[in-house]
Point group: C2
Chain length 387, copies 2
Amino acid sequence: MDIPDTFTPPQRVLMGPGPSNVAPSVLKAIGQPLVGHLDPSFIKMMEEIKGMLRMVFQTKNEMTFPVSGTGSAGMEFCFVNLIEPGDEVIVGVNGAFGGRMVDVAERCGARVTKVEAPWGQIIEPGQIEEALRKVSNPKVVAVVHAETSTGAESPVAEIGKVVKKAGALYLIDAVTSLGGSPVKIDEWGIDAIYSGTQKCLSCPPGLAPVSFSPRAMKVASHRKTKVQSWYLDVNLLAGYWGEERVYHHTAPISMNYALHAALKEVLEEGLENRWRRHRQNHLALRSGLSAVGLELAAQEGYQLWQLNPIRVPTGVDEAVIRKALLNNFNIEIGAGLGPLKGKIWRVGLMGATSTRDNVRLLLSALCQTLNENGHKVDAAAALAATA
Amino acid sequence: MDIPDTFTPPQRVLMGPGPSNVAPSVLKAIGQPLVGHLDPSFIKMMEEIKGMLRMVFQTKNEMTFPVSGTGSAGMEFCFVNLIEPGDEVIVGVNGAFGGRMVDVAERCGARVTKVEAPWGQIIEPGQIEEALRKVSNPKVVAVVHAETSTGAESPVAEIGKVVKKAGALYLIDAVTSLGGSPVKIDEWGIDAIYSGTQKCLSCPPGLAPVSFSPRAMKVASHRKTKVQSWYLDVNLLAGYWGEERVYHHTAPISMNYALHAALKEVLEEGLENRWRRHRQNHLALRSGLSAVGLELAAQEGYQLWQLNPIRVPTGVDEAVIRKALLNNFNIEIGAGLGPLKGKIWRVGLMGATSTRDNVRLLLSALCQTLNENGHKVDAAAALAATA
């Protein structure tokens, strides 16, 4: 093999399930020269990241920091620290990421009770309540807040009340929700939560913001067995991200630069403003789609603002349209997963990607491509409906 | 808490145990706009990274790719995939990272036999041979090639012959060696290896290049139990980094941009040239230190070129000197760990940091600081000896 040429990425509009587009300030931050992971300037920045994450997560949890891996590493972080072999865990499964939680929990030795809903539907508080009655000693209840595979938002606040009554630990996947719609750790009684940087925080992928309540920390620090992952052991990580600054692993310096800048963008916009922007652009997209007979596949009343699952019209080849959008318009959208493969497109309006211009760009390109492929729609009507 | 100011890192000369300084091409690459992790352009780049890693690792191993975490995640990747509960593992322990391998292996359920040497000494092939005779059914022998905590380089090629004879899998920590001194997977009979990006590859931390031989892949794919880590399961990762491109996790896009550029720098310089440069600058530093009575703490004949453990002279406060170098000269060097705490400074000459100018910069700053702290040395003599 010869040495390849310098890589220059094409300029894409990232409207898939993540990564989303990144603000210029974040790209500038990530390209800065390195300092050491124990440099006083870096340690000060780590404290600032922890503080900003607490604001974004709406929590006072001391143990709030970015795990040095992507969102799935955050999922694994939560389970490996809380679960010991034989522990009983209830997991809501209404999409790919609920299914992944089951897999991860079982690899920790958990006895898992699945609470299921069809893909695109939500997990109801009553379903969790019923499972809690059946399971003898439930240690953890885990639910995906925003199912990236389906576009449905489960009622995490309501489920939290049920979990609290039963005394179990409450574990939430907020990979796609954080920064795009409300996530309120303390108010909702969440004990363990993980997110990713590349969705509504509009930061490159590579870090997983997590938070553990004092109760979760107590469980993790009073285990009978060692945490099965050294890399993700919160008891060791607390030494580096806490007061002591004990060397654990070399933190991804540049990624933390980027997260610092991305969190500043979020907080300078303001959480309420940011949520409103995500909601408005979702509604604009939905109106535009509706005007040409396209509909969202997620449960009415629980549709995510940041991830829009568009039902593929009968007779249209999902992949042909998706590839044409990429090749002709540089727009990336996502395919369906699992039972929704071939049946939906997933259109992300996350973070910096969530703009009125991008909604109109997508609608015009999608309508044109559908027309070119024999499915006639009125692009002007779609665009007019976004107003 | 208020929103913090934009973070601007101080300009450091990174002469600690990593991260090392990064070439401008790498900083330029990491700051490029994002594409999706399934974008055709990104998939092509992934193939190029795999190809370049094979050249740098000197291997034909198909399963050669960067794990989405730092070097310690690479360590965990190797152990979780190869070890099942009850397996017997022999680990060479002559520093912090050998000790960490024991911890990680035990968390996988391994029965570990330690082969020990004092910190700064090497693991001898004969020691491994003896352990292999005593252990009934050794599955894996694990050795740290370049002990970052001590500056000693164990004779990995020679140990490999002993391991091969016994039929065990050979697992190597090449975090600090790769890109700075020879690492030859196929020639040395290595089955599993991990490295980090932030040492002699001169890339920001955040990825762990790994490689599995076909034999290691066979072991990993014929396990009786599931790999305990979902995130690091090579059987799942092979689906994403292999031909099929099945979505597993969202790869850290920007970090892969950086690694692509960093590997290009390595290969454009040429491995032999790069090794020679690391050796020459190590010898220059060693001569300069020797001229003022300072010596290296690692075993004679097995001293790493990229990590130089300088013995702290009697009566000198290690931390005072180290902090003065940072505060007065913007030079980061490392402290000793474990039994070497307070007894050595660790001076990295890794990747882009390994230049004659940096050797002279360090010597002049160190001599001045020692003089200012009452330990008289002749800076001119140190500098003259580097010629």
